[in-house]
Symmetry: none
Subunit: 419 residues, 2 copies
């Protein structure tokens, strides 16, 4: 097996990685992106904030890879050494870029902060290197070819900044340079309220396909089916992918809530807007998590009016009109209280829908009859009596997990009502 | 800077890592363990299931590290190549180990499964290698010194198996061989409301220390300083670390909100409990995110009563008593509305504190005078007039970022009030 002379290598720089303080999610993201672009990728290296060892690692990488992708070490502090170490290795002087300084000054001003001298070094790039703009952070990266047949890309270690820079600048640049001829296209179908194994059995024959391929993933309570094919262009790809996507949607029905970037919150939002309806929330154990999820969507103010965080029982009574007797007789975590919360918030905020959550997130507060993980989700539509659904999320995955599943399941319940 | 001649290197083998299909959590686990043992660890390498490239990577690692820790490639399938590739590289024959075969047969029987021929290869180890038992899985690893001054440990890629093997066999072996005499201890100081560069300059002399070392990190709007030292035991370590921790705390003052596992929410919770006070929230642009953060803490019901998600202006008026005139004259995103929201929720829920957030999360809704990222955070204490602080988070990092900073800054504002 000979090396592909167009292969890429990911080099992650940061002592915090070698101390295990952070997980190298950047390397996984870049690996996925390189696979999508069909760019061969045979090695990944992690090295600390040490100029000598960085130079040794780069020297090795230069011998076996033609595209070196660096993350980390672009910050303002003395242990951020990536740029200067690369310049030194290739014996090229660093030059201060006024446009970078201006951009950084503007961003600091926006945050009402003052730029300190140590930030200046973030404007230094090797002579001849192109700036790789950082739209979401202060320090830019660079696109640099220090010698023929070698391309260097540098990114900050902050994942959100690195991803934005990769997609907005690095990918178009790489394509323009002839990397990634055949691209892997895919669509991801997203499911809620169905187990991975159950779904896998329903679509078993499709999981055997070779083109497109259909691969199941599960995580965060959601199940996904990724339908992929390699093609020279999107039209060809979609002609292969879409028929299979439609087959899966037909089989899965309402369990499939969306595709690709859809989320439960965005799908619920689209359904409410199409019907010109509104929703309000009443939350106990989620403490505002459901409202927070609904408002992740820009423009959600069209259909989301607000709600009441009724963490304390007195708030359930005073602000939502839950009957004290019901709290005493049924307990706060009960079908009746969930229904009264949903109706109460719907009527007080004058929305089409009221959506409520009351449960035991744990780790304490569970009983024989009402264990940790028991959650009631209520939904009330105008001029109709409310109903509540009982969920048992279990305790073994902890408080955050119960709260997350509760908020998502509430969105899913409303989604199915709206269908 | 010379290499430590007792340094370790982690080599992760698996094409699935290069495709980004899995996250390399094994490397983080081993990094943490090596740091704890005080075993220097300067490089990590990831390479695919390819004998030639595995050999190249190992040849490089042998030159710079004395302890090579492999994960992955021990399975029964043809693409599991770690053991045979290492044997070939060092030109040592593989020998079938009957005790391994018996152990595997026993485990298969226990699970009512039949051992297939392909499992036999998992019993092959290089001549002279010790078996590294795998209590929770089928394939064992090995402890092998193919030449003087070089030790090789191999583990399966399955994290649970690798971890069990590491703790039960590898660590005792390494200690017995004189590795890890001194352990690295550290404390992490956590800061909010100060830029990394500003803090770094305030504590600049301390960043130059060699024992303990002080290293800054930034992420999610928070800044951290990690104070670390190598010591034979915790008492010795803390004697070195604590004076520096106290110096930093003295320099940083209220900007330092906690240590190690403290969070803004947990610190606010402790302060409220110590004063037997309570808080309620009134949220506009965060849509419940502040309440959700407060209730991440188990037992928060002692001091958090609930709140109102006043996303729509009518809700601000009806449920919080915000004056319609103020909304018209000042606009929803204004100092006065933030104050009225804080007072309104405090009085309606009968809490000691009312905390409010109103702002423009974007991406739309910004104006010349009120740009995206402008947020007012209000705080009201019982029997006192409210005050509001103006924040300018900018638009360049997006809606989620503005909402996250808003919720955290509200907690930080309350924290500083409680101090």
């Amino acid at each position: 097996m000979t090396e592909d002379n167009r292969s890429a290598e990911v080099i992650s720089i940061g002592t915090e990685l070698l101390l295990g303080e952070i997980l190298n999610t950047n390397a996984q993201f870049l690996a996925q992106e390189l696979a999508q672009l069909g760019i061969p990728h045979y090695y990944q290296t992690v090295v600390g904030d040490n100029p000598l060892r960085i130079q040794k690692a780069v020297a090795i990488a230069c011998e076996r890879s033609r595209l070196l992708i660096f993350t980390g070490g672009l910050g303002p502090t003395p242990d951020d050494l990536t740029t200067e170490t690369l310049a030194e290795l290739f014996n090229v002087p660093l030059v201060e870029r006024p446009e970078v300084l201006e951009d950084m000054a503007r961003k600091f001003a926006q945050r009402g902060r003052v730029m300190v001298p140590s930030n200046r070094k973030q404007a230094l790039l090797p002579q001849g290197a192109e700036i790789l703009p950082n739209p979401t952070g202060s320090a830019p990266g660079m696109i640099w070819s220090p010698r023929a047949g070698l391309t260097i890309l540098t990114f900050p270690g902050v994942p959100s900044e690195m991803k934005a820079m990769w997609r907005q600048t690095a990918v178009p640049y790489l394509m323009s340079q002839g990397w990634g001829q055949e691209i892997i296209y895919s669509r991801t179908l997203r499911f809620w309220g169905v187990a991975e194994s159950t779904l896998a059995e329903k679509v078993a024959p499709l999981l055997q396909l070779t083109n497109p391929t259909v691969a199941p993933y599960a995580g965060n309570g959601e199940v996904r089916l990724r339908v992929s094919t390699k093609a020279p262009n999107e039209a060809t790809a979609l002609a292969t992918i879409d028929p299979v996507v439609q087959q899966i949607q037909a089989i899965a029905g309402a369990d499939c809530f969306g595709v690709d970037d859809d989320s439960l919150a965005s799908v619920v939002g689209k359904l409410l807007m199409s019907k010109q309806q509104t929703v309000a929330v009443a939350e106990s154990c989620t403490g505002g998590g459901l409202g927070h999820l609904l408002t992740t969507i820009a423009g959600s103010s069209i259909y989301f009016k607000g709600g009441v965080i009724a963490y304390d029982n007195q708030v359930k009574v005073n602000l939502l009109g839950v009957k004290p007797d019901t709290l005493v007789q049924q307990g706060a975590v009960s079908e009746d209280v969930a229904c009264q919360m949903a109706v109460g918030v719907r009527d007080r905020l004058g929305t089409t829908w009221g959506l409520s959550i009351t449960g035991i997130a744990g780790p304490d507060g569970g009983t024989e009859t009402k264990p940790v993980g028991l959650v009631y989700i209520g939904v009330a539509e105008s001029n109709q009596s409310a109903k509540a659904v009982r969920f048992q999320f279990g305790s073994f995955r902890g408080r955050d997990w119960v709260r997350w599943l509760s908020a998502c399941s509430a969105l899913d319940l409303l989604r199915r009502q709206l269908l």
